[in-house]
């Protein structure tokens, strides 16, 4: 050890450890063995299997936790179900008190939580102390407020029920807050399963919740392996699943819950761009990089792991960055003077290392600073890989470690293109001192959080979540509430197709959507007498890119009316028609101005115009509905009138759902923008051939999406009659595309199409299952009806916030201010 005099001369840093004593005492008090926390009690199953928790920085065994099995999962869900009966009826103001008590208790045990988190996970105590735990408390304060306000501000909503929540190991406490706080605020009860590597802080948290006096069963924590996670997800009495973790596991969960009627929110991986323009504060941006990729050892889903720098400043920027890396300190997570702690587990360490080797083998130049590293423990140097191109796997795949890859660009549009050249869309960081440039780029990057001249900022008041394969749903902010509520009129969907049950009906993915092209169908009634003048044959084609085009397959099917008569013929669409329609829908975004880039006023004018032109043909549409469905004229008239009214509704909404200013702790502006989702494929319900079509098309296009519509299979003519309405209403080409044919056959292509961003499906329960199942391929959003009835005529069920919610995704743009 150096003498004081030597230190005086060298001016080195020394050790500055935070004491682990309180945590050790807590672990010891539990005999270093932990049960499950169910109903506010420790439950230790007989003959339980245990799993060790290690401190990744030194390999020390911290304690052991139970590997829950089916019995325990059932017990936890049962406890939550019982508690739901009362908690869901507990007044919001009462729930708010409890949540306030939780927040207070978190603050009272701030240091204990922070130290345990660092010991269990390996993250620096500075981060757990200054970021994770304060945010944990903040989320409970924030959502305590929404519990207080629920009955007045969310009176059209009810809680979802029992929620199964599975969280990752990178931010055990923060992820727990994101999951539990909004859930219990809205009157749900939860069963939470922490990640295998990091189970202890959730157990400490559960004790703290109990200490705060929260009723038993509201928050239950079970520990276990991924199979316990599966049991939770597949449990029939779970009403919603919320997951944060890898995209691969997200896919599995999407498939596991498909068709079950369980709500699902997924916050998945990322490869977030960090874009630096020539007019950025380069030194500031270098620090931004440190916060982006070396925060939590880079084990951050939204880590800014793809550096994209303007070519003319790239050399200087990289030089500054390398100089900065030489000042990084890696060491004991409990040391108060380090930047990076330990990697959570050996497996993870090896994955990171193999990615770095891949990066080098792909031609990258690897830079690691010449800094002192601890001799033992799972530490990894901050790493920069330059000289790679987007074609490299290292540039495309999430590494989940302290590894940054860098690219260069020439122009702002190229920067945007590179930023969006990824399957993910979780976050982005944009650095420029030019507000016009920065905000323009922020609006064009496809990501749920965009930080301008800052990075990795979080707050309870702002939603967090992904675009594309980074998942769906938001955590935080008002938008985060909608993952935990259901419209008041809607029961928990029980499609009678419980995929989790071992006795589930055999579903054959190959068979679903199979279709043999149509043949002639001679009329069974109303035979022609050969004397009367027949109608002029009028066979609508497909409506793609603003034109009528022949069905690719050149097959046609007859539409049979209520009396068995042929009321018309329409094209029998196939995969290629869908392909062309999707292309056209994308093109409508690219034309100038693209549909999404038009202002709401313009879109509202077009919707009003559609309404006007539909109303002008009111009688014709009424007659068609009667002819197809055999319903009374009165009923058909009501449908057409409601369709016109609905167009008015969404013309109204076209410029009134843009988003909100989020009241985060940032000095500056955080804006939650309700952006369109992109291209939405919509399979319309059979009932209400016109109203079903309009009720789904209108919100989607009002909010800037372009659509591929599959009209009612049985009664498609209201939709094909609509071509002329669209043609005369100034709807730009490709905004609405309509492909007729076999609903499931066409839906299958749509849902398997990887350049479709969302699919809405109002067909059968089985179709709903497949739509949800197949959507996992590119993690597109889905909205399905599970084959359950919906009253399209009513305003409550047929229009409103639910439709707008499904038509948008929230992007939060953080803009700090100050000169």
């Amino acid at each position: 050890m150096s003498t004081l005099l030597e230190i005086f001369k060298t001016m080195e840093y020394g050790p500055a450890p935070e004491s682990p004593d309180a945590v050790k005492a807590w672990l010891d008090e539990h005999g270093r063995k932990f049960g499950l926390f169910i109903n506010n009690e420790w439950v230790t199953p007989k003959g339980a299997k245990y799993y060790p928790s290690y401190n990744p920085s030194n390999g020390e065994l911290l304690g052991e936790t139970v590997q829950a099995g089916k019995k325990e999962v059932d017990a936890a869900v049962a406890a939550a179900r019982e508690a739901f009966g009362t908690w869901s009826k507990t007044p919001g103001v009462v729930r708010a008190r409890y949540m306030y008590a939780i927040a207070r208790n978190i603050q009272k045990h701030h240091r204990l939580l922070a130290v345990l988190e660092s010991m269990d996970n390996g993250k620096p105590i500075r981060e757990s102390r200054d970021i994770d735990v304060p945010l944990l408390a903040r989320h409970f304060y924030y959502y305590a407020g929404w519990a207080q306000l629920m009955e007045t501000e969310l009176r059209d909503y009810q809680p979802v029920g029992v929620v199964g929540q599975i969280i990752p190991w990178n931010f055990p406490l923060l992820m727990l807050a994101w999951k539990i706080a909004p859930a219990i605020a809205m009157g749900n009860t939860v069963v939470l399963k922490p990640a295998s590597y990091t189970r202890l802080s959730a157990l400490l948290f559960a004790e703290i919740v109990a200490e705060a006096g929260v009723p038993a069963g509201v928050v239950n924590v079970i520990t276990g392996s991924s199979s316990a996670g599966s049991m939770l997800v597949e449990h029939p009495d779970i009403d919603k699943v919320a997951f944060t973790g890898s995209t691969d596991v997200g896919r599995i969960l999407r498939r596991q819950t498909a068709g079950s009627g369980k709500k699902l929110s997924l916050e998945l991986g990322g490869k977030s761009p960090f874009v630096v323009f020539e007019d950025a504060d380069l030194d500031g941006a270098v620090e931004g990089v440190v916060d982006a990729i070396w925060f939590n050892q880079g084990q951050v889903c939204c880590a800014g792991s793809r550096l994209i720098v303007q070519e003319n400043v790239a050399a200087r920027f990289i030089q500054k960055l390398k100089a900065r890396m030489e000042h990084m300190r890696v060491g004991d997570p409990l040391d108060k003077s380090i930047d990076m702690g330990a990697i959570v587990d050996k497996t993870q360490w090896e994955t990171i290392d193999s990615w770095v080797k891949t990066g080098i083998s792909e031609g990258g130049e690897c830079y690691q600073p010449n800094i002192k590293m601890p001799e033992k423990g799972l530490f990894y140097k901050p790493t920069l890989i330059t000289g790679l191109d987007p074609a490299a796997a290292t540039v495309q795949e999430e590494i989940f470690g302290p590894v940054l890859v860098s690219l260069t660009f020439r122009t702002p549009s190229e920067a945007i293109e590179l930023a969006n050249n990824t399957r993910y869309g979780l976050a982005a960081s944009v650095w420029s001192d030019n507000i016009n440039l920065a905000l323009d780029v922020a609006s064009k990057i496809k990501a749920g959080s965009v930080w301008v001249n800052c990075t990795n900022l979080f707050d309870g008041a702002s939603g967090f979540g992904g675009y594309r394969e980074s998942g769906f749903g938001r955590e935080g902010g008002r938008e985060g509430l909608f993952e935990y509520v259901r419209p008041i009129w809607m029961d928990r969907p029980r499609p009678g197709l419980d995929t989790a049950s071992p006795t589930r009906p055999p579903l054959d993915g190959k068979k679903w959507g199979e279709h043999v092209p149509a043949r002639p169908a001679p009329p069974t009634t109303a035979r022609a007498n050969g004397r009367d003048l027949p109608r002029v044959d009028r066979t609508p084609k497909m409506y793609i890119g603003g034109k009528q085009v022949r069905p690719d397959g050149h097959y046609t099917f007859s539409v049979i009316g209520a009396k068995g008569q042929i009321v018309g013929q329409v094209g029998d669409g196939n995969r290629k028609d869908i392909r062309d329609a999707v292309e056209a829908a994308h093109k409508a975004h690219l034309s100038k101005p693209g549909w999404a880039m038009r202002h709401g006023f313009n879109r509202s004018q077009i919707l009003y115009f559609i309404a006007e032109n539909l109303d002008a043909r009111n009688a014709e549409f009424v007659e068609r509905i009667v002819e197809m469905t055999g319903r009374t004229k009165k009923s058909a008239q009501a449908e057409v009138d409601t369709a016109v009214e609905r167009l008015f509704t969404y013309a109204a909404w076209a410029d009134k759902f843009g988003g909100s200013v989020q009241e985060t702790t940032l000095r500056g502006i955080t804006v939650g923008v309700n952006e369109p989702i992109g291209v939405i494929g919509i399979a319309c319900p059979d009932e209400y051939p016109l109203l079903g079509f309009v009720s789904l098309m209108a919100p989607a296009i009002a909010r800037g999406n372009t659509v591929v519509m599959i009209p009612s299979q049985k009664h498609p003519l209201s939709a094909t009659d609509f071509y002329q309405v669209l043609d005369t209403s100034d709807v730009p080409d490709g905004v609405v595309n309509i492909v007729t044919g076999d609903r499931d056959h066409l839906t299958k292509t749509l849902v398997q199409h990887e350049d479709v961003d969302s699919v809405w499906y109002f067909g059968s329960a089985e179709g709903s299952y497949w739509v949800e199942y197949e959507s996992a391929a590119n993690m597109k959003r889905t909205w399905v009806g599970y084959g359950l009835p919906r009253d399209w005529m009513s305003r409550e069920q047929g229009e409103g916030h639910e439709f707008l919610h499904e038509s948008t995704q929230v992007k939060n743009i953080w803009v700090p201010t100050g000169e």
């Binding site: 005099l5 200054d130 003077s337 800052c454």
Partner: protein
């Protein structure tokens, strides 16, 4: 291309000045996190605090300064830490003094006399300190007189109006004249950042001051309503780093005003170490302009040695 010789100044590069970008919120974020990312404890803390002592420009700049007051200050400058304390830290025989004694021009002579026999330089403020609003010939003359009286360092103030109006050329020209008047004495240029409008201006003024031949750049006179902050210090240190990269000259940094606690001092030391490197922890490139800081450093050292919190009146007055 690092050069150990004194910065002679370089031609004014206006492109560089005009192309500066400083993002305030990014600066604030760095400054907020840095003191939480770095800390020193125990022996390291004591060594760092002692190092801070040696970097103090022990300062008195008051209307009521008298020869007696200066003498007392100089005595403290020569022996800032009680010998018994030094001995208990294993530093017997180490020469621990402050970095300089800083006074008004009229008191330079008193200080030079009082510091005779020590190597401690006398620094004099000049050029119409603190406002710099006197005619140029007088300001230059003030430097010359201070140098004549034995000051080895001159803390000059810039004319803030040049920064606020963007007249970089005039600022540069004037500082060059100051530098010439300093001769062998080192020029420490006070930017009075509390009176500048933006952090970008602080950065730009730092560049111009260095181009004009400053040996140190200094935040404040101590007389502005806002004096040394970590924000402006970060911006100035980054300018120093950039200047070093471009021209190879190491420029010193002196935060002044408002630094009165050991904790603050350590935050600045971390800033120096992280942004500039270890060379900027020693008094040839780093000074604290402070009057009451020394007492707190002493008290913290006392606590380190004894484990007891110290009484202020047990520390000899300066």
């Amino acid at each position: 291309m690092t050069q150990n010789n004194r910065n002679p100044g370089v031609p004014l590069d206006l492109d560089w000045v005009m192309g500066a970008h400083v993002n305030k919120s990014a600066v604030e974020r760095r400054v907020e996190s840095l003191p939480k990312r770095r800390t020193v404890k125990k022996d390291w803390q004591a060594a760092w605090l002692l190092r801070a002592v040696t970097c103090i420009d022990l300062t008195t700049l008051a209307g009521d300064d008298t020869p007696g007051r200066i003498r007392r200050l100089c005595a403290k400058a020569k022996q800032p830490i009680r010998p018994d304390m030094l001995s208990r830290m294993g530093l017997d025989g180490e020469k621990i003094t402050v970095g300089a004694v800083c006074v008004y021009p009229n008191r330079v002579k008193d200080a030079v006399e009082a510091l005779q026999g020590s190597d401690i330089p006398v620094a004099s403020v000049a050029t119409g300190f603190p406002a710099g609003q006197t005619p140029l010939p007088q300001r230059i003359q003030e430097i010359e007189q201070a140098v004549e009286a034995g000051a080895r360092e001159i803390d000059v103030v810039i004319a803030r109006n040049y920064v606020l109006t963007g007249n970089w050329q005039a600022m540069y020209d004037e500082l060059q004249q100051f530098r010439k008047a300093c001769g062998e004495a080192h020029m420490k240029t006070i930017l009075a950042t509390g009176e500048l409008g933006t952090l970008k201006q602080v950065y730009q003024a730092s560049l111009v001051a260095m181009m004009a031949g400053s040996d140190f750049i200094k935040t404040s006179t101590g007389k502005e309503s806002v004096n040394a902050t970590l924000e402006v210090s970060l911006v100035m240190t980054r300018a120093i780093r950039e200047y070093l990269e471009r021209y190879g000259y190491k420029i010193g940094f002196k935060p002044a005003g408002g630094i009165s606690s050991a904790k603050q001092a350590m935050a600045w030391q971390s800033l120096m170490k992280e942004e500039l490197g270890d060379d900027w922890l020693k008094n040839d490139l780093f000074r604290f302009g402070a009057s009451s800081l020394l007492t707190d450093l002493e008290r913290q050292l006392y606590h380190f040695i004894t484990g007891h919190y110290a009484a202020k009146h047990h520390m000899p007055m300066g």
